[in-house]
Structures are given as structure tokens and as C-alpha cells.
């Protein structure tokens, strides 16, 4: 039995459709990330799972029971808010013990639960502090402790790291994943940051405009995204539009604008089909290898990016691509003509979207 299941959940606010027919399953012990741009409905979805909002249609089942109408306080969960929401008039310790305390646990139990939770997040030393006296990262940890002290098996996180500095986020990602796995919890984590989603989750649910676009393991979503939107939203990608010119023996030839031609492995494409090809910037190399395609272009700009060097190339047909090379291997200089190679196995193909490529990839 899945831990959480939503069946046909829809949510409307007046004329605005926030969620449309969402079917989602979360297994026991799984860490699921719900990823999408602002306005995609991810926060609405997690609030409905928590019982903060009621769906307009559909139902939510937790542990097999229909909880659509259950009030928030009768659910067994921990919730972490984007804006932290620590009770400002209570110390860290009182915040942490709030859950057990209001449920009427015995004083020793209340003490134990809060102490253990604070220890898990490393805030036992600062339990006497008021929230305002702590940094952003520490506040969020305190909020996490409060959620964990409820001893629930389910942890819901609504953009828990969005309000924090970039560097602090990186640290807390480790903490979150570690805690959830060590405690054997089921977690649902909402975020707009695809790197965050991939690093913490067992499975990622990609959403856009109130619907689920694609679900999969991080690696699979990154290497073989099935939807065009996912290919752009998760990691960065180069997109080239073209038309299939011929298919033979499982290999298809695609002609791009300006007569450039590429080949890829496929047994489902038909000649004449309009397609969009996607190659990630890091799949290019300066040396040919097995199954390679070649692209030639002029290097417009070279940029040091830390772990790699990014080059912007303008192809013969005027289109631009990004090529990322490891710092040791990037010999390309601005202004020179370059040949870049990539393995056709790494290239992805999608049907040309009817609304146009720009519209299909739009992030806002």
C-alpha cells in the first residue's frame, strides 16, 4: 500500500485552475521531490496533502484511509514551511516541544522528544535562544526539529530552503537527506530548484501549470527526459529544430536549418517528421569518439565557470549552442572556428511542439 495517494485532485480558486487532475503515489520510506516553476501548483498540492486546503475535486489517501476531510491537527505528520514560521514568542526549545506538549504527552516524553529532535539537527546547545536571535539556516533547522518532534512518519516540506542563502542551502540538503533516510521517514519536498530536487530525492515529480509533466528517478530524468519541458527545466540543454530526412536500419538522419545534418539512433521516427533535438552542453568533446556527430561553429564567448568552462558557439546556420568542457581540456579561444563532437546516443529527440518551441519551454 502506498503511503500517500492522490486521486484526481483538482483545485480551483475562482477562475484560476491551480491543480488539474493530479494522480500521485508516494511509497513508504520514499523521498519524493515535487519540482516546478512558480505557479505550477506544487505548493497547492502539498497543502492539500497536509490538509491545509481542501481539494475542489478528488481525494487524498494516507495509509489507505481517505483523509480529504480530516482536520490538520488530527493528521500524523510534520510540516516545514517556506517562511519558517517558528513561534516568535517561544524559545527554540519551546518550539520543538510544542507538538508533544499540545498533544498532552507526559512531561518526560515531551522532554525526550524535543531533546532528541534538537540533537538530530544540532541545535541542542542553542535551545534557549529566541528565533530572532538565530541565523536563517539555524531557524530552518529549529523548524525541522519542531516537525520531527511530532514523531510522525511523514514529513512534508514546502520550499524549505528557498529563503536561505545559496551556500546554506547546500549544507542543509545533506542534513535533510541524511535525517530522512536515517529515521526511515517518508518525505515530500516541494522546490523550484532542480539541483536541490535531484540531490535529495529518490524520485522527482515535475509539474507545470497545474499538471504533472513527468515522474522519474533523478538520473533517469536527467539523462533521458521524456518530455521537452523536463529536458529544459532539469539541467540545461541545447535545442535544435529540424526535420527527419530518412530512416534506415534504426538510424535516422535529421536536417536542421541551413542544411546542417545530424544522425541519431531511432526506430520510431518517420521521414518528414518535424522534430526538436536536444544535446546537453557537457556532452561535447574536442576529439571524435564512437558514434559521433559533428557541429562546426564560431566561438563567440568563453567563460570560466569553476568546475568547467562554458563556450558559446554560433553554428553555420546562425543558431547558438552552449558547449561545456572540463577546464583542463578547453583550448578554444574567442573568435576561432571550432569543431565539436558528440555521441549520438546522448542526443534526445522530441516531436516539434504545436505551440512552438519557445512557448513549450517558457519558465514563467
Amino acid at each position: 500500500m502506498p503511503k500517500i495517494r492522490t486521486e484526481g485532485v483538482s483545485k480551483r480558486f475562482g477562475r484560476i485552475v491551480a491543480l488539474e487532475n493530479v494522480d500521485l503515489e508516494v511509497r513508504e520510506g520514499e523521498y519524493v521531490a515535487i519540482l516546478g516553476p512558480s505557479g505550477c501548483g506544487k505548493t497547492t498540492l502539498i497543502k492539500i496533502i497536509a490538509g491545509i486546503w481542501r481539494p475542489t475535486e478528488g481525494r487524498v489517501l494516507v495509509d489507505g484511509r481517505d483523509t480529504t476531510r480530516t482536520p490538520i491537527e488530527e493528521r500524523d505528520l510534520g510540516y516545514v514551511f517556506q517562511n519558517i514560521m517558528l513561534f516568535p514568542h517561544m524559545s527554540v526549545k519551546d518550539n520543538a516541544r510544542y507538538g508533544p506538549w499540545v498533544r498532552g504527552f507526559r512531561p518526560e516524553e515531551v522532554e525526550k522528544a524535543s531533546r532528541e529532535a534538537l540533537e538530530l539537527v544540532g541545535l541542542l546547545q542553542r535551545q534557549g535562544f529566541l528565533p530572532a536571535e538565530l541565523s536563517g539556516g539555524a531557524q530552518q533547522k529549529a523548524s525541522l526539529a519542531r516537525a520531527l518532534a511530532n514523531r510522525a512518519n511523514l514529513l512534508l516540506l514546502d520550499e524549505p530552503l528557498s529563503a536561505l542563502d545559496a551556500r546554506v542551502r547546500v549544507e542543509l540538503r545533506y542534513t535533510l537527506r541524511r535525517l530522512v533516510k536515517d529515521l526511515g521517514l517518508t518525505a515530500v519536498h516541494v522546490t523550484h530548484d532542480q539541483e536541490e530536487a535531484m540531490s535529495v530525492a529518490d524520485r522527482v515529480v515535475v509539474m507545470r501549470k497545474g499538471r504533472i509533466v513527468e515522474v522519474g528517478e533523478p538520473r533517469r530524468l536527467y539523462e533521458r527526459p521524456r518530455q521537452l519541458f523536463t529536458a529544459n527545466f532539469v539541467g540545461q540543454n541545447n535545442f535544435l529544430e529540424g526535420r527527419v530526412t530518412g530512416v534506415r536500419d534504426g538510424v535516422a538522419a535529421v536536417e536542421l536549418r541551413g542544411g546542417l545534418s545530424l544522425i541519431l539512433n531511432s526506430d520510431s521516427l518517420k521521414p518528414g517528421e518535424p522534430v526538436v533535438l536536444a544535446i546537453r552542453p557537457e556532452h561535447f568533446a574536442l576529439e571524435p569518439g564512437p558514434g559521433t556527430n559533428i557541429l562546426t561553429g564560431q566561438v563567440e564567448e568563453t567563460r570560466f565557470m569553476g568546475s568547467f568552462t562554458r563556450h558559446r558557439l554560433t553554428l553555420e546556420n546562425g543558431e547558438e549552442i552552449l558547449v561545456d568542457l572540463p577546464p583542463e581540456e578547453s583550448r578554444l579561444k574567442q573568435g576561432e572556428q571550432a569543431k565539436v563532437f558528440f555521441n549520438r546516443e546522448k542526443m534526445l529527440v522530441y516531436s516539434r511542439p504545436p505551440e512552438g518551441l519557445r512557448e513549450a519551454l517558457k519558465l514563467e
Binding site: P37, S38, S135, G136, G137, A138, D165, A166, R167, V168, V170, E171, R173, Y174, R177, R178, K181, H192, D193, Q194, E195, E196, M198, S199, V200, P218, R219, Y222, F233, V234, G235, Q236, R280, E282, R303, F304, M305, G306, S307, F308, R310, D324, P326, L363, E364
Partner: protein, 366 residues
């Protein structure tokens, strides 16, 4: 366009020193990023340059002329606060026209610049909209157009991308740089996001707790970190504490408490000094199995975090937890529990003195 020089800037608020002896130089038309954690003093620095906050001591020069006595409205800086501060009761057009209007520009000249700016940020078709009707990214562009319409000499951006989605940030940060470069305007861009800084800056100034820690090109700040804080803040680093065994022209050798030795870049510290050796996680590599060699640490994979292009592998070794950021297609084997060896080239390991107050305190980000 204009160069900027700051000498010995100091500013305190009750109970906290926001800026302490900050000096820096920005060349004409440069795009400079001020990078640091929240509370480092970045916003105070920008506000002082803009004339919104008065410094306790120190001088600010635009093109060699001191501006300390000039009020905000006379300095000619375009300041973009974090939340854009668009005038909600005015349309996009009126917002952008605000600067030229209050500065009494001739009507035709004013209309021309407003049109130009709206074109530049691709918002000509929304000129009659009100700010609340626009998306976050569009609002930011209106704020930018408004700031630039005054033909300001210096552009100050206070965490301009903070309120936007992660994916959107990647696109818009390039647009910011392109816009600034096209106009040739000297730009100071404040952020806490090191990836953002590296991808668009000509120069990076790392600020921490009111002090300038390092200044340099993205490559310098990344590869030649002068400080454990910079090493760990711009990217991520592994650190080893030990004693400097000896340092020669080609490398230096540090002995760790477990009697193992690590090799790093040459240093001019004295033999026997207590030192810290730092190496960026993405200069570290993991190979299957256990083996011993220079700068090799055998261990067990604790967990690996998939980041897309790369994977962060956390390894438990005899010296504690170490991390390596490796390309994902080379780290398929590194799953939980697998025996691996982490190693790094001496060329990328830098030796520093142990920071005052200890290593942990020096790395603190908040």
C-alpha cells in the same frame, strides 16, 4: 562611464560593525560582483555608494572626484533594491519615465529614452500595464529599465535575482550582464550565490563580516583561493589540518595527525607551522577499490547526491568525511557502501595558516 574607488570605508550600527575598512577599485565599464553571505555588509556597501546611508569614515570617488558630500539625487547612481520597489500606482511607462521627469528633462528627449529602455528590456508592449500585473522576471526588467533611463554612471544591483526561481535565474543573469555591457555601464552586482558570481563577473570581491577577503577574477577566486573561507564559499572544499613538514619550489608537504602526508602547492610559511590544506571538491576524484598513493584516501561511500552534470560523493575515511564532485557518467559505480579511494592532484591543494579562532569558525557562513 565611470570608474569607482573606495578607501577605508567604515560603518557601524548599534551593536554591529557592518563595514570595516573596506577599500576597492572598479574600472570603467567593469561588471563587478560583490559576493558574500547574508550579513556580510554587501547591502550597506551599496547603500553607502548610492548615498542612502552615510559612512562613519572613509571616502568614495567617482572618476577621481569625491562624492561623499553629494546627496543621493545628485550622485547619478542607478540603485536597484532587492524587491525592485516599483511604484505600484504608476504604469510601466511612468515608472521608467520617473527619473527623467523629476530631473526636468525636455519632453521629447525623455520620451525617446523611455522608448529606448523599454525596447532594450523587451517590454514595449506592456508600457501601460501596472507592476502588479507582471511576473517577477518582468518586474525586474522594468526596475532595470527605470534605473538605466536616468543615464546613470554607475549601476548598483542588490541581489537582483534573489526573488526568482532557480532556473529563471540562470537565464536572466546572462541578460543582466549583456545589458550592462551593451550600455558600457559600470556595474556592481551583489549576491550570495557563488555560481551566479562566477558566471557573470569580470571581477569578484568576496566580502565577509564587513571585510574584504579576496578580490580577483572568477578564475583567481576559484582556483587560487587565499583563504579557507573563500575556498569553501566559492564552491566547496575538503580541509586537512596538520603540520607543515617542508616546502620546496615545486610543492609543500603536510603531515596529518594520523601520520599520513599530503602534498600541495608551495607555500612560504615556516617549517613546523600549524597549517590547513584545502582542496576543492571538484578537483577530487574517486576510484573504485582501496589503494595507497600520493594524496589518496581510501574509504567507504556514505552517500552520493546526484546533481545532474556531477555527483557529490561523500566518503567516510580515516580522516573523517570527505567529498568529491565528479562527472556523473564517471561515478556510476559509487553507490552506498562501495569501497573507493578519494584522491586529488597536489597542484590544486593550497596550504594556509590555521585561521585565528579555529577552522570551523572561519568557515561559518552565517
Amino acid at each position: 562611464m565611470v570608474s569607482l574607488r573606495i578607501e577605508g570605508l567604515r560603518k557601524s550600527f548599534p551593536g554591529v560593525v557592518a563595514l570595516e575598512d573596506v577599500s576597492l577599485e572598479v574600472k570603467e565599464s567593469d561588471y563587478v560582483v560583490i559576493l558574500g553571505p547574508t550579513g556580510a555588509g554587501k547591502t550597506t556597501l551599496l547603500r553607502t555608494i548610492a548615498g542612502l546611508t552615510k559612512q562613519d569614515s572613509g571616502n568614495i570617488y567617482f572618476d577621481g572626484h569625491p562624492v561623499d558630500r553629494l546627496a543621493s539625487f545628485d550622485r547619478g547612481v542607478a540603485y536597484l533594491p532587492q524587491n525592485y520597489s516599483l511604484f505600484g500606482h504608476m504604469t510601466v511607462w511612468d515608472n521608467v519615465a520617473f527619473g527623467p521627469t523629476v530631473q526636468d528633462w525636455e519632453m521629447r528627449r525623455r520620451d525617446q529614452i523611455v522608448r529606448e529602455m523599454l525596447n532594450l528590456v523587451h517590454l514595449s508592449d506592456r508600457r501601460d500595464a501596472f507592476p502588479r500585473e507582471l511576473s517577477g522576471g518582468m518586474q525586474q526588467r522594468v526596475a532595470l529599465a527605470r534605473a538605466l533611463a536616468t543615464r546613470a554612471r554607475i549601476l548598483l544591483l542588490d541581489e537582483p535575482l534573489r526573488a526568482l526561481d532557480a532556473r529563471l535565474r540562470m537565464e536572466l543573469r546572462q541578460e543582466l550582464r549583456t545589458l550592462a555591457k551593451d550600455l558600457g555601464i559600470t556595474t556592481l552586482h551583489v549576491t550570495h550565490d557563488q555560481e551566479e558570481a562566477i558566471s557573470i563577473a569580470d571581477q569578484i570581491i568576496v566580502l565577509r563580516r564587513g571585510k574584504v577577503v579576496q578580490v580577483g577574477s572568477p578564475q583567481e577566486v576559484y582556483d587560487t583561493h587565499q583563504d579557507p573561507f573563500v575556498a569553501n564559499f566559492v564552491g566547496e572544499a575538503n580541509f586537512f589540518e596538520g603540520v607543515l613538514e617542508h616546502s620546496g619550489p615545486r610543492n609543500s608537504v603536510v603531515t596529518l595527525p594520523i601520520r599520513k602526508q599530503v602534498v600541495g602547492r608551495p607555500t612560504d610559511m615556516a617549517q613546523g607551522a600549524n597549517v590547513v590544506l584545502g582542496v576543492k571538491t571538484d578537483r577530487c576524484d574517486v576510484k573504485p577499490g582501496h589503494f595507497e598513493a600520493e594524496n589518496c584516501f581510501p574509504g567507504v561511500v556514505l552517500r552520493s547526491l546526484f546533481l545532474g552534470k556531477r555527483v557529490t560523493v561523500e566518503v567516510e575515511t580515516k580522516v573523517g568525511f570527505l567529498k568529491a564532485k565528479v562527472p556523473s557518467d564517471r561515478a556510476q559505480f559509487a553507490s552506498e557502501g562501495v569501497e573507493v579511494t578519494l584522491r586529488f592532484p597536489p597542484d590544486h591543494a593550497i596550504v594556509y595558516p590555521v585561521p585565528v579562532g579555529g577552522l570551523q569558525a572561519a568557515l561559518e557562513v552565517e
